[in-house]
C-alpha cells in the first residue's frame, strides 16, 4: 500500500486532478444545459466522461490511475457537488474491476488497454448503480422499471465514448500532444 501511495510523480497526479475537474465540469454542464432526464444530455455526459477517461488512461499509463481518479472524484464530488453518496461505493468497485481488467495489458503502449479499462468501468458501474437503485426502491420494485431506461441510455453514451475516446487519442497523436 505504501509503495502504491508513494510511486506517483507530481506530473501524473496533476494530470489525474485536471482530468477529474474537466470531466466533472463537462458532465455537470451538459446535465444542467439539457436537463437531467433528457436522453441526449444523458448520453452526452456519459460520452464525454468516457472520452476523457480514455484520454487520461492513455496519458497516464501507471496501474492504479483509474482507481486514484475514482477516489478523487468520490472525495471531491461528496464535498463539493453533493453527488449521490450511495453511488460512490459502486464507482469504487467498478474502478477496482477495471484495474484488474487492465492489469494483463499494463505494458502495452496502444489505446487498447485504456479502452478495456473504460469499458469495464462503464459496465460495472452501470450494473452496480442499478443495484443501488434497487436498494433505494426495494419497497416498490415497479419503480425500478423507470430507472432501467435511464441507465441504459447513459450506457449507450458510454459506448459512444469508447469510440470518441479512441478518435480523440488519434487526434492528439496527430497534434503531437500524446506520443506512442
Amino acid at each position: 500500500m505504501t509503495r502504491f501511495l508513494s510511486c506517483w510523480s507530481a506530473r501524473e497526479l496533476v494530470v489525474i486532478g485536471v482530468f477529474a475537474a474537466a470531466s466533472k465540469v463537462a458532465t455537470l454542464l451538459v446535465a444542467l444545459a439539457g436537463g437531467g432526464m433528457n436522453p441526449v444530455s444523458l448520453m452526452g455526459k456519459n460520452l464525454i466522461f468516457t472520452t476523457l477517461l480514455v484520454v487520461m488512461l492513455c496519458k497516464v499509463r501507471r496501474p492504479g490511475t483509474l482507481l486514484l481518479f475514482t477516489v478523487i472524484n468520490i472525495i471531491v464530488s461528496m464535498l463539493l457537488l453533493g453527488a449521490s453518496v450511495t453511488l460512490l461505493p459502486a464507482m469504487f468497485v467498478a474502478a477496482l474491476a477495471a484495474e484488474a481488467a487492465m492489469w494483463p495489458g499494463r505494458a502495452s503502449s496502444g489505446v487498447g488497454n485504456a479502452l478495456i479499462g473504460a469499458a469495464v468501468f462503464d459496465v460495472v458501474s452501470k450494473v452496480l448503480s442499478l443495484g443501488v437503485s434497487w436498494l433505494f426502491m426495494r419497497e416498490n420494485p415497479a419503480m425500478m422499471v423507470m430507472a432501467v431506461p435511464f441507465v441504459l441510455t447513459g450506457y449507450i453514451g458510454s459506448v459512444g465514448g469508447l469510440f470518441s475516446g479512441a478518435r480523440a487519442v488519434r487526434e492528439l497523436r496527430h497534434a503531437g500532444i500524446i506520443h506512442q
Binding site: R11, E171, H174, A175, G176, I177, H179
Partner: protein
C-alpha cells in the same frame, strides 16, 4: 551562477536540435536578456537553466549546464528548483491554490516547514510585494500584474539564488512592466543572477547587463543593450524595438458621437453608440449614458484596470446586454441581438477558439459561416478573403495542414485573428492581439489590421502593447467614457 558549456539539446520525438553550441555564463548580480524570433530556442535555453530540459522534458543533452558549479544532469529537479526560481508568462497556470495566502504558503507547507515559519514567510512576501491588502482574495480577482506579483513573491519566499523569467511582460500594462523592471534591478543588486527571455526589449534598458540574440537555436549576437540599436540585427532576427514611445496620451481622441454628424447627403461610416449605460449587478454604473463614435480605421481602447475595457467590447458585440443605449453601424440602428452579425471580436485565449483538425479546415469553416451570415445581403461574398489569402496574410501557409492545437502560442494567436478576418466584420475588436508575438509577427499583425481598416472596417484594439499602438493606431478611445454632454471637454482630460 548559471553556466552553459557547449550545450546542444534535442527534444524527444524531434530530429532537430532546439539549441546548439551554447556557451553562456550568468553571474551573480547580473541580468541577461535573451531575445529572438519565435521558435529560435530561447524558451529551451530557459528550460535548460531551470533543469526542465532534460529533467522534465527528457530529450538529449550534450555539454553541461552548471548551477552554482553543480552539473544539473546529476541533480534532481527538486534540488535545482531550490536554487533557480522560474516565473512563467501566465503565472496563474502555476498556482495550486485559489487564494493568495494559500498560494504563498503552498510550497512551504509541502516542504514541511513549521506552521509559524510558513506564516512568517507568507507575511514577509506579501508585505514586500504590497500584497497584504489582497492576501485573503481569490486569485481570480487579481489583475495580471498582481498575479505576477503573487508568482514572484512565492518564488522569492523560497530564497533562490537565480531567477529565470519567461516573457514576463506579455500580459502586463506599461506601469506594471516598469514596476517589474525596478524590482528586477533591486534583485540584481542584491546579488541574484537573473535570466529574462522576452520579445519586449525596451523595458530592460538600463537594467540588462547583457543581451543575447538567438537565431535557429544558436547565439547569433551578444553584447550590451546598445547592441539592439542595430536595425539590421533587429530586422534579421525578428526583434522588437529597443526604445518605445508611450503614445497613450498623444493619440488623438475618438470623437464623441454628437461631434461627428455626417456631411449633408454623405453616408455615415463607422460605429456610433448613444446613451450607453451598464452596471454589473449590485455595483455602480460602469457606463452612464456614454456616447462615442468610431470611424473606420484602427482605434486603441485605453484605460486602467477595472475601467471596463473588456466590458465595453462585450457590450459592443452583444455578449453582454447594455442597460440602455443605441448602436448604429454605418448609420443604421442595430439591435444588440444583431450586433454579432456585423461585429467580430477576438478574445484573449486562443485555445478556446480552435475546434478543427487542420489550420485550413479552421479557416474554411469560418469562411463558410461568414458566407451563411452574409447570405442574402448585397455585400460580402464578392470581397471576402480566401483561405490562401488569409494563410499568406498571417504567415500560416507552411502550417496549413498542422493541427491548430499543435501550434505555438503566437501561431495560434495569428490563426484566431485570421478566423476573425474571415467573417469580414464591419467592426473588429481585438483583445491583446500581439502579446507574445515577436517583432516580425507584430509588424505583420499591424499591417493586417491596417488592411482591414483600409477596407472600411472599424478596428478597436484593447492593448498594452505600446509598439502596436504606435505602429497602427490612429486614434484612442479612452476609458472611463464621459457622460453625454460632458464629452467634449472631459474627453481630453481622461
Amino acid at each position: 551562477m548559471i553556466r552553459f558549456e557547449n550545450v546542444t539539446y534535442t527534444y524527444p520525438f524531434s530530429d532537430r536540435c532546439a539549441v546548439k553550441d551554447i556557451n553562456l555564463h550568468v553571474r551573480p548580480g547580473e541580468l541577461v536578456l535573451v531575445s529572438g524570433r519565435s521558435g529560435c530556442g530561447k524558451s529551451t535555453l530557459m528550460r535548460l537553466a531551470d533543469g526542465l530540459c532534460p529533467g522534465y522534458f527528457r530529450g538529449t543533452l550534450k555539454g553541461r549546464v552548471l548551477i552554482d558549479g553543480r552539473d544539473t544532469s546529476s541533480m534532481p529537479l527538486r534540488d535545482i528548483s531550490r536554487m533557480v526560481g522560474t516565473l512563467f508568462q501566465d503565472p496563474e497556470q502555476q498556482f495550486f491554490a485559489l487564494g493568495v495566502e494559500d498560494e504563498l504558503a503552498f510550497v512551504h507547507e509541502w516542504r514541511g516547514r513549521p506552521a509559524e515559519e510558513t506564516r512568517e514567510r507568507v507575511r514577509r512576501a506579501a508585505a514586500s510585494f504590497g500584497l497584504s491588502p489582497v492576501l485573503h482574495h481569490s486569485i481570480h480577482e487579481l489583475s495580471e500584474g498582481q498575479k505576477q506579483k503573487v508568482g514572484l513573491a512565492s518564488i522569492l519566499s523560497q530564497e533562490p539564488r537565480a531567477l529565470v523569467l519567461d516573457e514576463p511582460t506579455a500580459n502586463l500594462d506599461p506601469e506594471s512592466t516598469a514596476e517589474l523592471a525596478c524590482r528586477l534591478r533591486a534583485l540584481k543588486e542584491s546579488g541574484m543572477a537573473v535570466l529574462v527571455v522576452d520579445h519586449r526589449l525596451y523595458w530592460l534598458e538600463g537594467v540588462a547587463d547583457r543581451v543575447i540574440v538567438m537565431k535557429k537555436g544558436e547565439i547569433c549576437a551578444m553584447g550590451n543593450f546598445a547592441l539592439l540599436e542595430d536595425e539590421g540585427l533587429r530586422a534579421g532576427c525578428g526583434l522588437r524595438d529597443c526604445h518605445v514611445e508611450d503614445v497613450r496620451r498623444s493619440l488623438p481622441e475618438a470623437l464623441p458621437a454628437g461631434e461627428n454628424a455626417p456631411e449633408p447627403g454623405g453616408k455615415e461610416r463607422g460605429l456610433r453608440v448613444e446613451g450607453l449605460s451598464f452596471a454589473y449587478k449590485g455595483r455602480e454604473n460602469l457606463f452612464d449614458h456614454a456616447c462615442f463614435f468610431l470611424r473606420p480605421g484602427v482605434t486603441a481602447l485605453i484605460g486602467e484596470n477595472g475601467t471596463g475595457k473588456t466590458t465595453l467590447a462585450r457590450l459592443l458585440t452583444g455578449l453582454n446586454r447594455a442597460g440602455a443605449g443605441k448602436f448604429f453601424i454605418d448609420g443604421k440602428e442595430t439591435a444588440p441581438g444583431e450586433l454579432l452579425r456585423r461585429v467580430g471580436i477576438v478574445l484573449q485565449n486562443a485555445d478556446h477558439q480552435l475546434h478543427m483538425k487542420t489550420v485550413t479546415q479552421e479557416l474554411e469553416v469560418c469562411l463558410e459561416l461568414a458566407r451563411r451570415l452574409h447570405a442574402g445581403k448585397d455585400s460580402g461574398a464578392e470581397d471576402a478573403f480566401s483561405v490562401a489569402e488569409l494563410l499568406d496574410m498571417f504567415d500560416l501557409s507552411a502550417l496549413a495542414e498542422r493541427h491548430p492545437q499543435s501550434l505555438s502560442g503566437g501561431e495560434k494567436q495569428r490563426l484566431v485573428i485570421a478566423c476573425a478576418f474571415a467573417k469580414k466584420p464591419d467592426v473588429l475588436i481585438l483583445d491583446e492581439p500581439t502579446s507574445g508575438l515577436d517583432g516580425g509577427n507584430m509588424l505583420r499583425m499591424a499591417r493586417a489590421l491596417e488592411l482591414l481598416a483600409g477596407r472600411g472596417a472599424c478596428v478597436l484594439v484593447i492593448t498594452h502593447d505600446l509598439e502596436l499602438m504606435k505602429l497602427s493606431c490612429m486614434r484612442a478611445l479612452r476609458l472611463p467614457l464621459p457622460r453625454a454632454g460632458k464629452a467634449g471637454n472631459e474627453g481630453e482630460n481622461v
